[in-house]
């Protein structure tokens, strides 16, 4: 995979068999392009991390610490911060394609339109997970949460939640950049869709933190899995309709 050229749509070298089927391969090229832009500029990633840390701090002071123990807040704060910092990355996802009408070049590239969606979504997914890798330990630190034996489960929930949010958010990002309201519209369209994800993730996390039996978390996990499944498929199908025809 590492010898795939960065340029989108560059023909694969003839002498080697493609490692991945066409669609995934093209998606990976799109994702790599976005990640390369992000890696070289690092603007969105750092602002998302600083935003997440700021959010954690502000939330802490929004409650009376003598009335509500910090650990009871931790799960809710974590997922609210997760949602909002995720929006920062999603905003940028199609925002970067506006300069010099880069989107036209992307559309002209010989890749399927689903591959553009999947690639963008993959890059956003890595972005959101990257922010989480900083935000979750920060919550544990600031809110004094013992992550010791639940970190693996928490990582699993974070991956599932990121998948759901990114699936919907990537599609709406593509739509929002073409409207007059741009930045305002993305949260307005996305947040109702994030509700089941945030509820499921926060409820599961607080049960894990409270040491409740796993059976209590299962119904929520099922909602999260169902959401991921339905919206990854539905948004990949819907995406081509949001492009210029």
């Amino acid at each position: 995979m590492s010898d795939v050229t960065l340029a989108v749509g560059a023909p694969a070298r003839q002498d080697e068999a493609p490692i991945l089927p066409g669609l995934l391969r093209a998606s990976w090229l799109v994702a790599r392009k976005d990640l390369a832009i992000e890696f070289r500029t690092r603007t969105a990633f750092f602002s998302a991390i600083v935003f997440a840390l700021l959010g954690l701090t502000i939330f802490y002071f929004a409650w009376d610490p003598t009335a509500v123990p910090a650990i009871d807040l931790a799960s809710g704060v974590l997922w609210v911060i997760f949602t909002f910092s995720g929006l920062l990355g999603l905003q940028r996802s199609f925002g970067v394609e506006q300069a010099d009408r880069a989107m036209d070049a992307l559309l002209a590239a010989p890749v399927e339109r689903e591959a553009i969606y999947l690639g963008k979504a993959a890059a956003n997914f890595l972005f959101v997970v990257g922010v989480q890798l900083v935000a979750i330990p920060a919550v544990a630190l600031f809110y004094n949460v013992p992550l010791g034996n639940i970190w693996l489960s928490l990582a699993g929930i974070a991956v599932l939640a990121a998948l759901g949010i990114v699936a919907v958010g990537t599609l709406f990002s593509a739509m929002a950049v073409n409207t007059r309201l741009a930045e305002l519209l993305l949260p307005m369209l996305s947040l109702p869709f994030f509700v089941p994800v945030v509820m499921a993730a926060a409820q599961t996390t607080s049960r894990l933190l409270a040491g409740r039996p796993e059976a209590e978390a299962w119904p929520w996990l099922r909602i999260l899995l169902g959401f991921d499944l339905v919206f990854v498929v539905a948004c990949a199908i819907a995406f081509p309709y949001t492009l210029d025809e």
Binding site: V168, L171, M175, N178, T179, R180, L181, L185, M188, L189, L191, P192, F193, V195, P196, M199, A200, Q203, E216, P219, W220, I223, G226, F227, V230, F231, A234, C235, A238, Y241, T242
Partner: protein, 249 residues
């Protein structure tokens, strides 16, 4: 793919204004019929239907609340179906029906969210509670408010139609998930017991009034969607007239 009428409405170079001149109607018969039906339903509900034993007069709002709620679901169902039809056939009429239905649905949802607390205060003792059904209705309102804002944020008609169709479909797919989440949330967090009517076993007088009222609201829905559809059509005509004037015709 395109019916003769769709072609007449959307054909380039053949302005709509010439094909079907707008006939300004002072009185919309459908609106009048709907208003008369609603008034009749209310006269019946207030004077000719016995009051409920424990809730008294507060229960009368039921004849407004429930038909509005059912028609809101009907409206959003229509948005879902017409959105699919639009993406499939690219018929502008499907987009205009979706637009009209979403606005009327949002209106009905607002009625539900307004009448609910008015009833809830005397009966439950609180204006609002995070009961599953209330929460779901609130989110319905958010989804379709977003839908209408999205429509207002796009100028180009074909783009607007495609985007709103995508949102109309995804919004309908979201509803079951919010439904499951809010019910799960409530059952795992038992709230103070609220007075809720169990399975509706209405006495016949009340049931008939309710059905009457429901029919009146269906008529309101149809009349408003029709009026809004025509408004959408007039806007297209206006845009075409303006374009033809600018073109120096």
């Amino acid at each position: 793919m395109t019916t003769p009428r769709a072609r007449a409405e959307g054909a380039p170079g053949r302005p709509l204004a010439e094909v079907a001149p707008a006939r300004p109607a002072l009185i919309d018969g459908w609106i009048v019929a709907a208003a008369v039906a609603v008034i009749a339903a209310y006269v019946r509900a207030i004077w000719f239907t016995p009051p409920e034993a424990t809730q008294g007069l507060a229960q009368k709002i039921y004849y407004l609340h429930l038909p509005a709620a059912l028609n809101a679901y009907l409206a959003f169902g229509v948005v879902f179906v017409t959105s699919i039809v639009y993406l499939w056939l690219r018929d502008d009429r499907a987009d205009r029906v979706a637009e009209a239905s979403a606005e009327v649905g949002l209106l009905f949802t607002t009625v539900v969210l307004t009448t609910g607390p008015i009833w809830g205060k005397p009966i439950w003792g609180t204006w609002w509670t995070w009961d599953a059904r209330l929460t779901l209705t609130l989110f319905l309102w958010f989804i379709y408010a977003g839908y209408i804002v999205l429509r207002g944020a796009i100028i180009e008609p074909a783009l607007r139609a495609r985007y709103s169709a995508v949102l109309g479909i995804l919004g309908a797919l979201l509803i079951p998930f919010i439904h499951m989440s809010v019910y799960l949330f409530r059952t795992l967090h038992p709230m103070p017991i609220v007075l809720k009517p169990s399975a509706p076993s209405l006495p016949p007088e009340m049931l008939h009034t309710l059905l009457f009222s429901f029919a009146a609201f269906v008529l309101v829905y149809l009349a408003l969607v029709r009026a809004r559809y025509r408004l959408g059509l007039e806007r297209v005509r206006l845009a075409e007239l303006e374009a033809s004037l600018e073109g120096g015709r």
